[in-house]
């Protein structure tokens, strides 16, 4: 594929080419703490769920007051907040939509991510300041459909997860609209919006947030031949499974940026702050490094290793490089343990005394080797010496969740830096 080298994406500055069209890094957040972490660790925008009209009813959702606080926090960093309102409404979900959209607008939210034309049309009328982004639930897969939504006045479209780099390239050439594309996280194996496995199997409506991931269960495959049911598996075969590996496009970031994709989306509103901090910070570094010097860019092994520290499933490039093969699915396994535990968040650091004040998030004890990371620092490892509680009592271990503890660290730390520990 030829890249758009002489497009508006890059410019020569002081004899060196730089990327001037830097895409947005868009991160998920299931609550206010995650939102703050995402923004602090380098996300340009964060998508959250409200208490109504969104999928993932169990992903942790924001009240309007929490949204307002999130927007104020994000504003300090120049970051934007989008709210997913991506259900396909049934008749009885239609009430209260006007007030809800007005409240989002009033809270300073930048835009909504939406699939149902009911919500699109209502938003245009009652909350015209909100940008409207078409959700992936519409399975947008071709440039003529993109053109349709452009003509309908939408600012941005989120593509189907089934679109490839080639396809996106043509869409960008044919239609002038912002394109948002997934770069990282768990995915549906079905076309989004076109799966009602959960409706049938558990009477929960997947298109209103009730999906219970029936696609991740095991099934047995049979054929019916001459009226007989014949198993298509033998002793020792794995069960029929549909689980896709998680998407990871970190190594394709240069290509994605060259395509002119406007927003790179990380999936996972249910994920931990450790996951969000790790993923966002690595993508941040890669995007920044490539944009600063695209011609000499090389991905660093340490970035890839860093990203792996929060992975709990194998990863793959999915449809980005073309139709994925069978090796991009998982058979007979359902994920792995993460290699690292998130054990604490830095609240304060005193440079004179070298004393760290930390909120415990998981068990650790003196003698443990831990790693610190954060946007202000390069990752480093230390062995923890003595640990004290808030009253200065020495501890044999930090065992209580959210307990405030202190210990010394010679290297400088900043609030919101994180401490992790390798699992053994």
């Amino acid at each position: 594929m030829t890249l758009l080298k002489d497009d508006t994406i890059s410019e020569i500055r002081d004899g060196k080419r730089v990327i001037v069209k830097k895409p947005e890094l868009l991160a998920p957040a299931g609550n206010l703490e995650k939102l703050k972490i995402a923004v602090h660790y380098g996300a340009d925008a964060v998508f959250i769920g409200g208490q109504e009209f969104g999928l993932r009813s169990n992903a942790g959702n924001f009240s309007i007051d929490e949204m307002r606080e999130g927007v104020e926090f994000a504003n300090k960093y120049g970051a934007r907040i989008y709210v997913t309102t991506n259900i396909f409404a049934h008749n009885d979900n239609m009430d209260g939509l006007d007030e809800y959209l007005k409240a989002l607008e009033g809270a300073g939210v930048a835009g909504i991510i939406v699939a149902d034309p009911l919500i699109i049309e209502t938003c245009k009328i009652v909350a015209p300041k909100l940008e409207i982004h078409l959700s992936t639930q519409q399975s947008l897969s071709n440039w003529k459909a993109v053109q349709y939504w452009k003509e309908e006045g939408l600012e941005r479209v989120v593509l189907a997860r089934e679109t490839s780099a080639e396809e996106i390239k043509l869409m960008k050439e044919k239609v002038d609209i912002e394109i948002e594309s997934f770069v990282h996280g768990a995915m549906c194996i079905a076309y989004s919006g076109r799966c009602v496995l959960s409706n049938h199997m558990t009477a929960r409506d997947s298109n209103r947030g009730g999906c219970c991931q029936s696609c991740r269960w095991d099934y047995d495959l049979y054929a019916v031949e001459d009226g007989e049911e014949k198993p298509l598996f033998e002793e020792g075969n794995e069960a029929f499974a549909m689980s896709p590996k998680d998407l990871k496009l970190i190594e394709s970031i240069p290509k994605i940026i060259d395509l002119g994709i406007d927003s790179l989306k990380v999936e996972g509103r249910m994920k931990s702050i450790h996951y969000i901090a790790t993923v966002v910070s690595v993508y941040r570094k890669v995007i920044d490094a490539y944009c600063a010097d695209p011609d000499n860019f090389k991905i660093k092994l340490e970035w890839l290793e860093e990203l792996d520290k929060c992975a709990n499933r194998e990863t793959a490039s999915s449809f980005f490089e073309g139709q994925p093969g069978y090796e991009q699915q998982m058979f007979g396994e359902h994920g792995k343990q993460t290699k690292f535990d998130f054990v604490g968040m830095v609240l304060d650091y005193n440079e004179e005394t070298q004393m760290v004040t930390l909120q415990q998030r998981n068990y650790f004890k003196p003698g443990d080797e831990v790693e610190f990371f954060g946007p202000e620092i390069e990752n480093f490892k230390v062995v923890i010496d003595e640990v004290w509680d808030e009253d200065g009592q020495a501890l044999d271990a930090a065992r209580h969740p959210l307990q405030i503890v202190r210990f010394k660290c010679a290297e400088k730390l900043y609030p919101m830096n994180m401490m992790r520990k390798e699992m053994r």
Binding site: N91, A145, M171, V196, C215, Y222, P244
Partner: protein, 309 residues
């Protein structure tokens, strides 16, 4: 009252003739290049022949263009529509808005039926697509009877409801059967079983069997039961639902003919008088139960089932 149209999905030209005899009013045909999960494949030439037969009998013919299109197929949409317009088909079924753009390019006037399957869940959407050229909305099969009736009350275009047959509950772009065989090192099976429509997934937990097959559009998984509401049609009649659809995918031609006869009788009886329908509905249900394949239990779909979220 005006009778609801009885729409069926034929598998061949001879099947069309049998279904006309059985009392069908309208026919949905097409090919997988453009349409999803069709009961039979009809090339454009066959569409021409079918249309002649169907129009000759005074019936209607619609062509499926409801696939989820990728770039590689969108350039073919406008020429296909032109050909269909010239043949004189009575409607095109679509889900992807690229069809609206292509229809404008083709500059044809064929009525559009909006059918995105799972996501057609409220009357606002029906009217929204109505303003953009749709004359009919095909409702999601995951709706309850009350929801359907309320949509009809508020809809400005025709409403089509499936009353019988299988429903699709999953579509993936990936060839999941082929991938499974490859993973197990059975490359031979991939070719052997291509286009086979005789496989199912067994879900041990629920003891359910879900038909599954692959085609050009990916992998499709179907409901474990056939919906059948031949004895529960009165609310749909009262609401004046415009179209009753019998989905015949994965069934034999004979089965679809027999089921069509039953629904024909139900519609004719109700138009005579509701009592005439009540008198025969149990008998009609018994008739369908008799011919129902053992592997496919009947149920009433989501008509009377609550879903939560």
């Amino acid at each position: 009252m005006t009778k609801p149209e009885l729409l069926v999905t034929p598998q061949s030209l001879s099947h069309i003739k049998a279904l006309i005899e059985a009392g069908a009013d309208a026919f949905l045909i097409g090919e997988q290049q453009f349409g999803l999960r069709l009961a039979g494949e009809f090339t454009i030439e066959e569409v021409r022949e079918a249309t002649a037969i169907i129009h000759n009998a005074g019936k209607k013919v619609y062509v499926a263009m409801n696939a989820i299109f990728h770039n590689d197929r969108v350039d073919a949409l406008a020429p296909y529509m032109k050909a269909l317009s010239e043949i004189g088909v009575d409607g095109i079924v679509f889900g992807d808005p690229s069809v609206i753009i292509a229809r404008r390019e083709a500059d044809v006037n064929i009525p559009l039926h909006w059918n995105p399957e799972t996501i057609a869940t409220n009357w606002f959407q029906a009217n929204y697509w109505g303003k953009r050229g749709a004359t009919r909305a095909v409702l999601a099969r995951e709706l309850s009877m009350d929801e359907i009736v309320e949509i009809k009350e508020n809809a400005e275009i025709e409403i089509e409801v499936q009353v019988h047959g299988m429903t699709c509950m999953f579509q993936s772009k990936r060839p999941l059967l082929g991938h499974y065989f490859l993973y197990e090192g059975k490359a031979m099976e991939v070719e052997n079983r291509k286009n086979n429509r005789n496989m199912f997934l067994h879900d041990p937990e629920r003891n359910s069997k879900y038909p599954i097959y692959e085609d050009l559009n990916g992998t499709h998984i179907f409901s474990p039961n056939d919906m059948c509401i031949i004895d529960e049609l009165d609310e749909l009649f009262e609401a004046e639902i415009d179209v009753f659809k019998i989905e015949g995918v994965l069934h034999t031609e004979e089965y679809v003919v027999a089921v069509t006869e039953c629904y024909r009788k139900a519609i004719d009886a109700y138009t005579e008088s509701p009592d005439a329908y009540f008198d025969i509905k149990e008998e009609l249900l018994a008739k369908i139960e008799e011919i129902q394949p053992e592997l496919r239990p009947l149920d009433t779909g989501f008509f009377f089932k609550e879903t939560v979220y």
